[in-house]
Amino acid sequence: MDLFPLWNSIRIALISTVAVFFIGIWSAYHISKASKEIKGIMDVLLTLPLVLPPTVVGYLLLRILGPQRIVGEWFLTNFDFKLTMTWWSAVFATVVVIFPLMYRTARGAFESFDETLAYSAQSIGLSDTFVFWKIRMPYCRPGIIAGTILAFARALGEYGATSMIAGFTPGNTATIATHVYQLWRTNNDELAFQWVLVNMLISFVVLFALNLIESQYKSKNNVKGGV
């Protein structure tokens, strides 16, 4: 069994999840501090990829990153760097599709934070940095871990946007999802099913590990937080 789709899927999912972890937390934190109007608009915009069918997301991405469009062309002429139809194109698609999951969960975690903890900390002289890392984050961490789990799981299953922007080139851009679809369509059911099992196994291992971390963390810090 050619294992390329396995490695490709895992690296795409890992890179996307890490990227979305930082971008998601950063935007969730700053937007939770913004005015009601900005919060409302940003929430809608940033949750949009969740609502749109993945193929539409892929289509829109192609229209931005394609070689004839502004961004795509810029990279092509200046760096001879193709943004589409490569394995990392799948990263763009996956990041966009999983971002809302991380963002909304992190947002929920930050919103649930009891501000009086921050106020008390400030009044006894603790710096804002200390407050963020030593008080706010530990409180919100279970929610953030949950968001990461969701994002990674979704990343592994991402198909529609990836297919549009990265195509399906065996050995080059194939992911587990697009590979399974291909096998299924060409009546290679048995192999397809084997891959489905592989996918489920990875997901199970990762989700189990993350759940373990989450419960350990919760009991150690007695935090009631979470999604």
């Binding site: 106020y119 400030q122 006894i124 002289g125």
Partner: protein, 345 residues
């Protein structure tokens, strides 16, 4: 140690406009929920910003809208205590207190002050516990310890006893009273409980809808609340609008009775009479009243009386023994001139 507050802030439904000072004493901000008293405290602590005004603490300007001064909460050195104590849930008791001592850069000294406050508050056995494992009273002690170890210039207590059961309250109130005494500096206490306010404070500032209605020593304020709202907040339950008959005679419209006063009516629109100030042998302002309801309290009775059949009732609080001796359907009751409170709107 003195504090001077003169601020304004738009709060949507109303405008907060307060102006008071305190000098090495306990000042209570008494008012109903949502009147702006907690907001005032937050403005002093620096976690909320007034629209304009000045706040001075010990000669240091914490806030001045004209000079564009607005110190961060960290720079203000205030001690802020919330109802929920705000203990950091992910830290042990020891770590919580140590967090409060972080201003002290010298590690040796820091260890020392942490150690001594732990001893003072008797927290030795709780050091490795987490906040959720502590009782309400223990949590308060830790919160107070953490606050004091940060060496604040003023204590700001936001409804410190609201979260407690009544039997705990008494004991913890005592602890806080001792603490305040030994603190020696100014304390601003926010509460809606008039008894607690009376017990703990020296000065009272009554706030209603963002405005200061009355300010003075606690005795002054209770004796002479000045406004109807302040009277209500200080626990006066018998209040009636009045019409002027002469300079020192009015008719209480709700109760349908005429009252003679000790002083000139002035601009007053209401009279108030505390329930326990009514008495049977007042001499003056006495009326034949019909008992309409007898309400039993744990240690007293509240007798609802009507002087006129078509008027509203007013209440008389009397202890149980006395009532048992004089109980009847008709009572002669009097409004002593000296206890009549004249109130503006």
């Amino acid at each position: 140690m003195s504090i001077s507050v003169d601020i304004e802030k738009n709060l949507g439904d109303f405008r907060l406009q307060v102006n008071f000072t305190a000098e090495n004493e306990v000042l209570a901000l008494l008012g109903a929920s949502g009147c702006g008293k907690s907001m005032t405290l937050k403005c002093i602590a620096g976690i909320e910003k007034p629209d304009k005004g000045r706040i001075l603490l010990d000669g240091v300007t914490l806030f001045d809208s004209e000079k564009n001064i607005n110190l961060t909460p960290q720079e203000r050195h205030t001690g802020l205590l919330f109802q929920n104590y705000a203990l950091f849930p992910n830290m042990t008791v020891k770590e919580n207190i140590e967090a409060g001592a972080r201003r002290e850069k010298n590690l040796e000294k820091r260890k020392q002050i942490v150690g001594s406050i732990i001893t003072n508050f008797g927290l030795q056995d709780l050091l490795t516990s987490y906040p959720h494992q502590l009782s309400g009273g223990e949590q308060q002690r830790v919160a107070l310890a953490r606050m004091l170890v940060s060496d604040p210039k003023i204590l700001l207590l936001d409804e410190p006893f609201s979260a407690l059961d009544s039997h705990l309250r008494f004991r913890l109130e005592q602890e806080v009273r001792d603490l305040i005494r030994s603190f020696g500096k100014s304390v601003i206490l926010v509460s809606h409980d008039r008894d607690e306010v009376f017990r703990l404070s020296d000065k009272i500032c009554v706030i209603h809808n963002g405005k200061v209605e009355t300010i003075g020593t606690k005795k002054e304020v209770f004796a002479n609340p000045k406004t109807r709202q302040a009277a209500v907040l200080t626990g006066c339950k018998n209040i009636s609008p009045i019409d002027r008959i002469s300079d020192q005679k009015v008719i209480a419209l709700d109760w349908g009775i005429e009252l003679e006063l000790n002083e000139k009516i002035g601009e007053a629109k209401y009279v108030g009479m505390r329930m326990h100030d009514l008495c049977m042998d007042a001499g003056e302002n006495t009326f034949d009243c019909q008992v309409v309801e007898i309400i039993e309290n744990p240690f007293s009775y509240t007798i609802m009386l009507k002087a006129q059949a078509d008027a509203q009732a007013f209440g008389w609080e009397v202890n149980k023994e006395t009532w048992q001796q004089i109980a009847s359907e008709k009572i002669k009751i009097g409004f002593p001139k000296g206890k009549i409170i004249l109130l503006n709107e």
